[in-house]
């Protein structure tokens, strides 16, 4: 069971306070109608699901109700850090946006 640092509340809290929000940084296509079925299906359903470092979202359900970004290793459950959505995006981009 994890302890996650909520970047808004500024505290480490137990996992039970949080909800898992799935893979982070899957932007909604700006013009969905311009996509073919496969590209739309990719956005809807395809996920990286890496074995290793994973950028993901959690929401602090019982606390500030904010979504934030966590970088977690799915092979070990080690956590590299938590960020607000905006800060997380910067950190993710600085890594080249890869896993």
């Amino acid at each position: 069971m994890f302890v996650l640092f909520c970047p808004h509340c500024g505290e480490k809290r137990e996992e039970e306070e949080f909800g898992y929000g799935g893979e982070a940084f899957i932007p909604r296509p700006a013009t969905p109608e311009a996509l073919d079925d496969e590209a739309w299906g990719d956005y809807l359903f395809m996920r990286k699901n890496p074995k290793g470092w994973h950028w993901e979202m959690w929401s602090h359900n019982t606390g500030c109700r904010k979504f934030f970004v966590v970088k977690r290793n799915t092979a070990t459950n080690a956590i590299a850090g938590s960020w607000t959505l905006a800060e997380g995006r910067k950190a993710y981009d600085a890594e080249g946006g890869s896993t």
């Binding site: 302890v3 137990e14 929000g21 969905p32 739309w40 809807l44 070990t76 959505l85």
Partner: protein, 1015 residues
């Protein structure tokens, strides 16, 4: 006192407090401080179980959680507990214990007949026989008759359990010498420390060895002062009778504290839970879990009276029980020597057979001085005796290789202890992904001493392979200082003199299976896992059959799968497998363990999540009013809602019929408080709504309401509800009862992740508003009686309008919306006034015979109108178009709203979609089953193609006939508008073996033009 009792100085039993208890109906004596095991041994009981597979007589082997045989049924009736290990049951006066194996009696066990044919029942024999699938149930029945140890009680549990969530800087698991020292150092440094020990007092091995020396004083004195100091430190909490059973990610230790089981039932405190689950989140975890001695594997090593050597010592020194008068000890190492001397000094005749030819001279001198007969270079080929050990045949071993080189003496004994070395208790270290490593010198899987310091996990003492007391203490001090400095602390003073009187250790012999000079499988059965009757030969067989991975070996033979979790057996099993495979032990695999370290009561896991606090039950503000009126309730999500309000003698159908007619012809009232409500405000609210709803919201004026459909990005309907425009930048959304939380999170997610720039805030006001829906042609008259400041006239207050005013003296928002198709007003007030307003409406409606109704009538009324219930008429595979609700989809909105793009996919846009329709049975009195399948022909011979299913079905009192909603393939085109021209409207609905003829019609059965809600 029985002849097995020895008054040992330093023993932890109180000879001044005699107790009585019973085992299998016979009364016995014991003393306070005994375990059930020590008391039984003191009474001379040797056989107290039969083995699982072969029915062999079995006795006590160990002293704690490693015990594989002595599984007991403790107490009777509602208090009974199955499978407790006698070694862990603290004796109390009046304790009732029963055996869990041996049928019909312990003396004669039916399984022992099978045991005679054990050569035909090797590991995995099930897989090779009983291959007739038809006969297998019969075989299985017989197998199940013989299965299992104890029994669960058949009555509800009279005791309770709870959880406690703690946070500590340092958690130390194990209160032996190392754990105590670590706790002292951390405690003195001012850290918040929790020390856990599974026994009734701290001390660990020191309790079995009270005459050891630490820093010049006796261990018992050192122990007393250490415990005393810890108790004086306010920042240190010592929890005894508390077994740490799991270590989870990020240093979460789970431990069970026993609060009651050691007390006579009559003395247990009713207000205290039986057990408490501590969930302790720690910055640092120190594993000081010690080690468990493993026995050697030799022929007939399961005969009662054969134990681990340390168990013999513990029973003597801690419990004052000399298990035998003539004792044979078999060892491969130094650990048994102190105990051998103690046993001899206690008056036992002791023969010590060491498999080594070169033994520790210092120890040899000490034991010989005590009168021990030491024989070197001998192993036990097999033990003698059946229900109690009577002796053993020794063989001469080669000095290096584990082979027999000659015969040895036959030695008589009435107790036999063996030691193959110590197995560190590495269980917890494995739970969160740690892997112990094999130490070939110490012949043990050990936790590295710095553990995984990076993640805050340390090991000290025997668990790291430091088996000597002095070494362990010195190492503990060193490691604990490292730990302290990692937390920015230092140990203020030296822990003083930690010197002991142990001689330097001599290397142990690498031996696990003592050879008997015969090929494996030819000699006497030599057990590795006692509880699962796994012998050395079984491991050989597994390897022979190519079950070569250690996991295969374990699973094929069941090695380590018992309730002792392989504490005695795993290393021996690994070593034997390694020998057969010609590999080293680490090549065979690393031992790993899963929680629980020792079994945990289900009730403890559940804690307070039981009975009326199992899960939240949510109530509306008007709950008391409903209870007072005799409502029956229906769980809807977490809520409990009134289902119907039966009057005397009414069943569901009669009540619903009365309620429906009241709403259609007079006035009814329903509690709609449970609907989700979200207040949205900001200048971009309309745009936000345009994006999250299928509908368009740009034109909705203040004072107006609109029904909306919410879709997921897959285009499927996920929620619906009415949203009101309060002001240009202010809306109030309602959601389904079950969907409220999901919708709130959904909206927040979109806003936070995709559209943070939209000026909109949303706040749940579900609980703020109490909502009473007043429904029916007379609803206006009812409302008029208690609301004077809203013009309720049809021209001033139209359908889908809302107004602010005062109802029953309370500020209210009144919505003229309808889920029944009738004239209706939904009155919303501050929930604190919900009960008051409900009663006021009931009072005001009395002259109109106002009738409260529940969810069932609500369902009938809405089904008569073809209004959907999301989750009942939809199942996550329905688009608005499938529901024939294109009117609620704003395809022209500039922003591609959530779900829109998915409509255009080939399948979603394709033909033959399932679509919402109405169904009418030919026989108007037949009410179809909800969930009936719609088929084309009356022939129901499988496979019959299904076109859809009935989603809602009721008897309509208004129409005097049954009605149903269904989703049917291409249903909209099948609807019968003008007779049965094409015949495609004629179908069958199948349920419970019957097919009923139905006609596909429009889903709107009552008032198709919608006139009634507009009056």
């Amino acid at each position: 006192m029985s002849s097995y009792r020895v008054r040992r100085p330093g023993a932890r039993v109180d000879f001044d407090k005699p107790l009585t208890f019973s085992f299998d109906g016979q009364a016995y004596d014991g003393f306070a401080g005994d375990t059930l095991a020590s008391a039984l041994l003191a009474n001379g009981t040797r056989m107290l179980a039969r083995s699982f597979k072969y029915g062999r007589p079995r006795g006590i082997i160990g002293t704690g959680p490693e015990e594989p045989n002595a599984l007991m049924q403790i107490e009777t009736g509602a208090h009974t507990i199955p499978n407790l290990k006698a070694t862990q049951v603290e004796l109390y006066d009046g304790l009732v214990a029963r055996r869990t194996t041996g049928w019909p009696t312990l003396e004669f066990d039916l399984k022992s007949l099978g045991g005679l044919f054990s050569r035909f029942m090797p590991a995995g024999f099930y897989y090779k026989t009983f291959q007739n699938q038809k006969l297998w149930p019969k075989f299985e029945h017989i197998i199940r008759q013989a299965a299992g140890y104890g029994s669960a009680p058949s009555e509800p549990d009279p005791e309770t359990y709870d959880h406690s969530h703690r946070h500590a800087q340092v958690v130390i698991v194990g209160g032996g010498a190392s754990g105590l020292l670590a706790a002292l150092l951390a405690g003195r440094a001012g850290l918040k420390v929790v020390l856990l020990d599974e026994q009734n007092e701290c001390g660990g091995w020191l309790l079995s060895s009270p005459h050891s020396v630490i820093g010049g004083e006796q261990a018992s004195a050192w122990l007393k002062s250490a415990v005393g100091e810890l108790q004086s430190l306010p920042n240190v909490q010592v929890l005894t009778r508390t077994s740490a059973f799991a270590l989870h990610d990020m240093n979460l230790v789970l431990a069970v504290e026993q609060l009651q089981d050691h007390l006579p039932i009559a003395d247990r405190a009713a207000h205290q839970p039986r057990q408490r689950l501590h969930r302790i989140r720690a910055e640092r975890v120190v594993l000081a879990t010690g080690a468990i001695e493993r026995p050697l594997v030799f022929g007939n090593n399961d005969v009662p009276g054969i134990m681990t050597a340390s168990a013999l010592t513990t029973y003597l020194n801690r419990y004052g029980v000399a298990v035998g008068k003539r004792i044979l000890l078999q060892t491969s190492n130094d650990h048994v020597y102190q105990g051998a001397a103690d046993l001899a000094r206690a008056g036992c005749e002791v023969v010590l057979a060491d498999t080594r030819t070169r033994i520790n001279p210092a120890w040899e001198k000490r034991v010989r001085a005590a009168g021990v007969d030491v024989r070197t270079g001998f192993g036990i080929a097999y033990a003698r005796g059946r229900r109690a050990v009577t002796g053993a045949q020794l063989v001469k071993l080669d000095a290096q290789r584990n082979v027999v080189v000659g015969s040895g003496p036959s030695i008589d004994c009435d107790a036999l202890g063996s030691s193959g070395g110590l197995s560190p208790t590495v269980h917890l270290y494995c739970h969160d992904g740690g892997r112990p490593h094999w130490d070939e010198e110490r012949l043990a899987f050990v936790v590295p001493e710095a553990g995984r310091a990076k993640s805050g996990i340390y090991g000290v003492g025997a668990v790291t392979g430091e088996f000597g007391l002095q070494n362990a203490l010195e190492q503990t001090e060193r490691i604990t200082r490292e730990l302290l400095s990692s937390l920015g602390k230092s140990a203020p003073t030296s822990s003083g003199n930690l010197k002991t009187d142990e001689p330097d250790a001599t290397p142990a012999r690498r031996i696990f299976r003592v050879p008997d000079g015969r090929a494996e499988g030819h000699g006497k059965k030599a057990f590795v896992d006692f509880q699962n009757d796994v012998s050395a030969a079984d491991i050989h067989l597994a390897v022979r059959e190519n079950y070569r991975s250690i996991e295969h070996i374990k699973r094929y033979t069941a090695l380590g799968f018992g309730t002792d979790q392989g504490k005695l057996s795993n290393v021996n099993g690994f070593a034997i497998a390694a020998d057969v495979l010609g590999k080293s032990i680490p090549e065979v695999g690393t031992t790993t363990y899963r929680p629980a370290y020792s079994p945990v009561t289900f009730g403890t896991l559940a804690g307070a999540h039981a009975g009326d606090t199992f899960e939240p039950r949510r109530y509306s503000p008007m709950q008391a009013a409903h209870v007072a009126r005799g409502a029956e309730f229906e769980p809807v999500g977490q809520w409990l809602r009134p289902w119907y309000f039966p009057q005397t003698g009414e069943d569901l159908h009669a009540a619903v019929r009365r309620e429906c007619l009241a709403a259609r012809r007079g006035v009814g009232i329903m509690d709609a408080s449970t609907l989700g409500k979200i207040d949205l405000r900001g200048k971009d609210v309309r745009e936000f709504l345009n994006r999250v709803y299928a509908n368009a919201w740009t034109q909705l004026a203040p004072g107006k309401c609109r029904y909306g459909l919410m879709l997921d990005e897959n285009g499927m309907v996920m929620d619906d509800g009415v949203t009101a425009c309060v002001a240009d930048n202010h809306f109030l959304m309602t959601t389904t009862t079950g969907g409220a939380a999901r919708v709130m999170t959904w909206l927040e997610k979109w806003h936070q992740t995709e559209w943070p720039d939209l000026d909109v805030y949303m706040t749940s006001v579900t609980d703020h508003w109490a909502t009473a829906a007043v429904v029916g042609p007379k609803s206006r008259q009812v409302l008029a009686k208690i609301c004077s400041d809203i013009d309720l006239s049809p021209s001033a207050f139209k359908f889908m309008d809302w107004r602010e005013g005062t109802v029953a003296g309370v500020p209210a928002r009144v919505f003229r919306i309808s889920f029944s198709g009738e004239l209706a007003f939904e009155v919303n007030v501050d929930a604190n006034y919900g009960h008051h307003v409900w009663e006021a409406l009931m009072d005001g409606g009395r002259e109109f015979d106002i009738t409260p109704y529940g969810t069932e009538t609500m369902h009938v009324l809405r089904a008569e109108k073809g209004f959907i219930i999301v989750g009942q008429d939809t199942d996550g595979s329905m688009t608005p178009l499938d529901l024939d609700m294109a009117w609620a989809v704003g395809m022209k909105k500039p922003f591609s709203f959530i779900g829109k793009r998915s409509f255009a996919r080939s399948d979603t846009a394709g033909p033959n979609r399932k679509q919402l329709v109405g169904l009418l049975t030919d026989d108007p009195q037949i009410v179809l089953a909800e969930g009936a399948q719609v088929i084309e022909r009356a022939d129901v011979t499988p496979p019959a193609a299904m076109l859809g299913h009935v989603t809602s079905s009721y008897y309509s009192p208004e129409l005097g006939r049954s009605i149903a909603l269904a989703v049917v393939r291409d249903g909209i085109a099948r609807r019968s508008e003008d007779g049965h021209k094409s015949g495609r409207d004629l179908l069958y609905a199948y349920a419970g073996g019957k097919a009923h003829k139905v006609t596909v019609v429009s889903p709107v059965f009552v008032d198709p033009k919608g006139d009634r809600q507009n009056v």
